[in-house]
C-alpha cells in the first residue's frame, strides 16, 4: 500500500526530465515537498511517534522504487534516520543522508568523503568515535566528488560541529544500514535497467528483425535477468527478516547487488549500443547510479572480505549451515 502511494508521487514528480533537472542544479523542492507532505519521511517511525509504523518488508518495496526511479534525494536514508534516534520528532525538516565514512582529521576537523545526495540533502548522519552525529550540510565546507550529473560531495566541518543522536532502535546497525539501503536501491535500479533493455531489444530493428530475436542477444538478456533476480533476492531477504537487519544479511545483500550491478550495467549498455551512453537516453540515469551505489558504503570487495572472516571464524563446519544463519539470525 505504501508502494502504490509512493509510486504515484514518483510518477508525477520524479520523471526522467525532473531527475535531469535536479542533477543539473534545479531545486528538488517540488519532489521533496510532495514526499514530505504525504508523510513518507515518517514511514518507519513508530505510530506512537506519529509515524507510519511500516515494517522492513514495506520499507524494502519503497527503497526498491527509489532505486527504480533514480530518486535524486536520500529518501531511504531520511526514513531510516527515524530509527537512529529516540526523538525522531526532534530531527530537522528536510532530507538527511548518511556519511559512508566520517573521520576526524589530524587538524581536528570532521571529514565525510563522497556523501551520496549531498547536493540535495540538508543534513548528514555519520558515525565517528562511537557516536552518531547529525551535521548540517549548509554549514559544511563542500567539494564536489561527482562528475556530470552526480549529487555526491565531500564535506568538512569544524571539530565541534553537529549534535549527537542517541537511543534509536537501529543505532547499532548504522555501520551497515547504509549498505543495506543501497542494496535495495541497486536492486531497484537494476530492474529498471533490465526493463529498459528488454524494451529496447524488442524495438530496435537490425538485419530486418528486432535485435531481441537474435540468440546471442537473448542469452545476454537471460544472464542479465539471472543477476537482476539474484540481486533482488539478496536484498529482499536482508530486509525481509522483519526485524532489524543483521550484519551478515546486509553483507550478503550489498556484496551480491554490487557484484551484479557491474554486470547488469555492462550488459544493458552492450545491448543498447551507443545510444545508451547519450545524455538524452534514460539508461544513463540508472547505470550511473549502479556504479556510484556499487562503491558507496563498501563494494563487494569490502563485504566479501567481511563475510569471508565470518565464515572462517564461524563454528559451523558446513557452508550450508553458515548460510542458513545469514538469514535465520542466530546460529542453530
Amino acid at each position: 500500500m505504501f508502494a502504490e502511494a509512493i509510486s504515484s508521487i514518483l510518477d508525477h514528480h520524479c520523471t526522467p526530465a525532473a531527475v535531469r533537472a535536479i542533477e543539473g542544479g534545479a531545486s528538488a523542492q517540488p519532489l521533496a515537498a510532495a514526499l514530505a507532505d504525504a508523510g513518507f519521511l515518517e514511514l518507519l517511525a513508530s505510530e506512537d511517534h506519529g509515524g507510519g509504523g511500516a515494517s522492513w518488508r514495506d520499507f524494502f518495496e519503497v527503497v526498491l522504487l527509489c532505486g527504480g526511479y533514480a530518486v535524486p534525494l536520500p529518501v531511504a536514508q531520511t526514513m531510516a534516520t527515524r530509527l537512529l534516534t529516540a526523538d525522531p520528532q526532534g530531527l530537522p525538516a528536510g532530507f538527511i543522508t548518511f556519511a559512508p565514512a566520517l573521520t576526524r582529521r589530524a587538524d581536528g576537523f570532521l571529514q565525510a568523503s563522497q556523501v551520496p545526495c549531498a547536493a540535495t540533502a540538508s543534513h548528514v548522519v555519520g558515525l565517528v568515535e562511537g557516536a552518531l552525529l547529525l551535521l548540517s550540510i549548509p554549514q559544511a565546507h563542500s567539494a564536489h566528488s561527482a562528475i556530470h550529473g552526480g549529487l555526491s560531495a565531500s564535506l568538512c566541518w569544524p571539530g565541534d560541529a553537529g549534535t549527537v543522536l542517541q537511543g534509536g532502535t537501529a543505532a547499532a546497525a548504522f555501520p551497515y544500514l547504509g549498505a543495506l539501503l543501497h542494496a535495495g536501491l541497486l536492486a531497484g535500479a537494476m530492474k529498471r535497467c533490465f526493463d529498459l533493455t528488454i524494451g529496447y531489444a524488442n524495438e530496435r530493428v537490425q538485419f530486418g528483425k528486432p535485435i531481441g530475436k537474435f540468440q546471442a542477444v537473448q542469452h545476454q538478456l537471460s544472464v542479465m535477468a539471472e543477476h537482476v533476480a539474484a540481486a533482488r533476492m539478496a536484498s529482499e531477504a536482508a530486509f525481509g527478516i522483519d526485524a532489524l537487519p543483521t550484519l551478515p544479511a546486509c553483507a550478503v545483500a550489498k556484496a551480491r547487488t554490487s557484484e551484479a550491478a557491474q554486470l547488469v550495467a555492462s550488459i544493458a549498455h552492450a545491448v543498447h549500443g551507443a545510444i545508451g551512453v547519450t545524455e538524452e537516453y534514460d539508461l544513463q540515469l540508472f547505470t550511473r547510479r549502479l556504479h556510484e551505489w556499487r562503491l558507496v558504503h563498501g563494494s563487494e570487495a569490502h563485504w566479501h572480505r567481511l563475510l569471508g572472516r565470518l565464515v572462517l571464524e564461524s563454528p559451523h563446519r558446513l557452508s550450508v549451515d553458515f548460510v542458513r544463519t545469514v538469514w535465520e539470525g542466530a546460529p542453530a
Partner: protein, 385 residues
C-alpha cells in the same frame, strides 16, 4: 513478461522443517561412517543401495509421495531440507535419487493406479531404483529429436533404439524412456510417449561408460525388440513431451543444482582454517558465501512454488543456470587459490577432491539441460521468443 522476475518471491522454510532438519542431522551422524571428502564429493552420483534402503526404512525416500504408497507425505519444504542435509555431507544418494526426485512424482502424476501400486512402494522402501531415459546418441540438447521407437503389437509394445548418458543405468532396475510412438523425428514434440522399461527384460543391454575420473556413473542402453506389456506406457500415448517437461521442472529445481561442489568447498575451508593462510582468501570465501546464500534463497523460492502445486519451469531454469555457474566457479577458483603458493601444498585428500570436482565440473552445465538450452528457455519466459 518481466513477470518472470516477480515470480521469484522471497519465501522461507516453515518452522516445522527445523525439527525435521535436526532429525535428519541426527540420522546422518549415526548412519554415515567417516568417509574421505573425495568419495563424499560424488554424493548424488554415488550408488549405495544399502544406504538408500536405510533411508527408505526411515521413510525418507519418496518423502513427498502419499502414505498409501509408503511415502512420508511430507511437503516440498521438508524434501528441500532432507536433500540439503544429504548433499551438505556428501551422502551417497545416487541409487534412489532419480526415483525420489522425478520418477516417483511422474508415476504419481501420470501413472495408472496399477502402476502406482506396482512401483511406488518399492521406491519408498529404497528397494527399486530408476534411471532417466531421455538423451539419445546424437540427440543431445535436441531432446525432441529422439528416434527410439515403440510400435504396437498384439501383446503390447515392441521397443527398439538406444539411450545414452543415463546416470547409473547399469545399476538400476528400471528406466523411464521417452520414445517415439508415431510419426518421425521431424514431427518433433508430437508422437512421443514415456514407458517404464524393466532393465532385466530380454533385448535390453546396458553398458557403463567410463569417465575421465575412472568412474562409471553414466551408461548407454540398447533396446533390441524389447517386448513391453501394455501397462508399460505411462500416461497417454503422445503425451510424452508434456510429461517430460513436467519432469524436467523437478530435475532442474533441486538443491543438487547448487551443491555439487559443496564438499570440496567445505574441505578447502577446513584447510584454510588450519592456518593463517585464510587472511589471503577472505574475499574469495566471502564471495562464495554471498553467492551461496543468495542461490539458496532463490532455491527456497522455487520450492515454495512447488509446495503450492505450481510447476515453475522457467524459474527453475533461471536458478539452475545461476547455480551451475556457482558450482563450476568453486573448483575453478579453488584450483587457482591452492596453486597460488606451490610451497604450501594441501593434503592428498583435498587434492583428490579438487581433481574429482574439477574434472566433472563441465558436466554440471550439461546435465538436466545445457546452459544454452536454459538461456533459451529464460529468453522465451521473458517474451523474446
Amino acid at each position: 513478461m518481466a513477470d518472470l522476475l516477480d515470480n521469484l518471491q522471497l519465501a522461507s522454510l516453515p518452522p516445522h522443517t527445523e525439527a525435521f532438519r535436526r532429525e535428519v542431522k541426527h540420522f546422518l551422524a549415526q548412519e554415515l561412517p567417516p568417509t574421505p571428502a573425495d568419495v563424499r564429493s560424488r554424493s548424488w552420483l554415488a550408488f549405495d543401495a544399502e544406504f538408500s534402503r536405510k533411508l527408505g526404512a526411515r521413510g525418507w525416500v519418496g518423502v513427498t509421495l502419499p502414505k498409501q504408497y509408503g511415502g512420508a507425505e511430507l511437503d516440498a519444504f521438508s524434501r528441500f531440507v532432507l536433500v540439503e542435509e544429504l548433499l551438505a555431507v556428501g551422502a551417497p544418494v545416487g541409487a534412489h535419487w532419480i526415483a525420489d526426485r522425478q520418477s516417483g512424482p511422474l508415476i504419481l502424476k501420470f501413472g495408472s493406479d496399477a502402476q502406482k501400486a506396482r512401483y511406488l512402494p518399492g521406491i519408498c522402501r529404497g528397494e527399486i531404483f530408476f534411471c532417466i531415459g531421455m538423451s539419445e546418441p546424437n540427440s543431445g540438447s535436441d531432446l525432441a529429436s529422439v528416434a527410439s521407437r515403440a510400435v504396437r503389437t498384439d501383446k503390447g509394445w515392441r521397443l527398439n533404439g538406444r539411450k545414452i548418458w543415463t546416470t547409473n543405468g547399469h545399476k538400476c532396475d528400471y528406466t523411464i524412456a521417452l520414445v517415439r510412438t508415431s510419426g518421425s523425428p521431424a514431427d518433433r514434440h508430437a508422437g512421443l510417449s514415456q514407458f517404464v522399461v524393466d532393465l532385466k527384460l530380454p533385448g535390453v543391454t546396458v553398458r557403463p561408460i567410463v569417465d575421465l575420473t575412472g568412474d562409471a556413473h553414466f551408461s548407454e542402453m540398447f533396446f533390441d525388440d524389447v517386448e513391453l506389456d501394455p501397462e508399460a506406457l505411462i500416461g497417454n500415448e503422445g503425451d510424452g513431451w508434456k510429461q517430460v517437461n513436467a519432469e524436467l521442472a523437478f530435475e532442474r529445481s533441486g538443491p543438487e543444482r547448487l551443491y555439487s561442489s559443496i564438499v570440496l568447498l567445505d574441505a578447502w575451508l577446513g584447510w584454510l582454517r588450519e592456518s593463517a593462510r585464510f587472511e589471503q582468501q577472505l574475499e574469495t570465501v566471502g564471495r562464495f558465501a554471498a553467492h551461496l546464500a543468495t542461490l539458496r534463497q532463490l532455491s527456497v523460492a522455487i520450492t515454495a512454488k512447488l509446495a503450492a502445486g505450481e510447476s515453475p519451469v522457467v524459474e527453475a531454469a533461471l536458478v539452475k543456470d545461476l547455480g551451475t555457474e556457482f558450482e563450476q566457479a568453486v573448483p575453478a577458483i579453488i584450483e587457482a587459490a591452492i596453486g597460488a603458493d606451490p610451497a604450501d601444498p594441501p593434503g592428498e585428500e583435498l587434492v583428490r577432491t579438487l581433481a574429482y570436482v574439477s574434472h566433472m565440473a563441465p558436466t554440471f552445465s550439461l546435465r538436466g539441460g545445457t546452459r544454452e538450452i536454459l538461456r533459451g528457455m529464460i529468453a522465451r519466459g521473458l517474451g523474446l521468443r
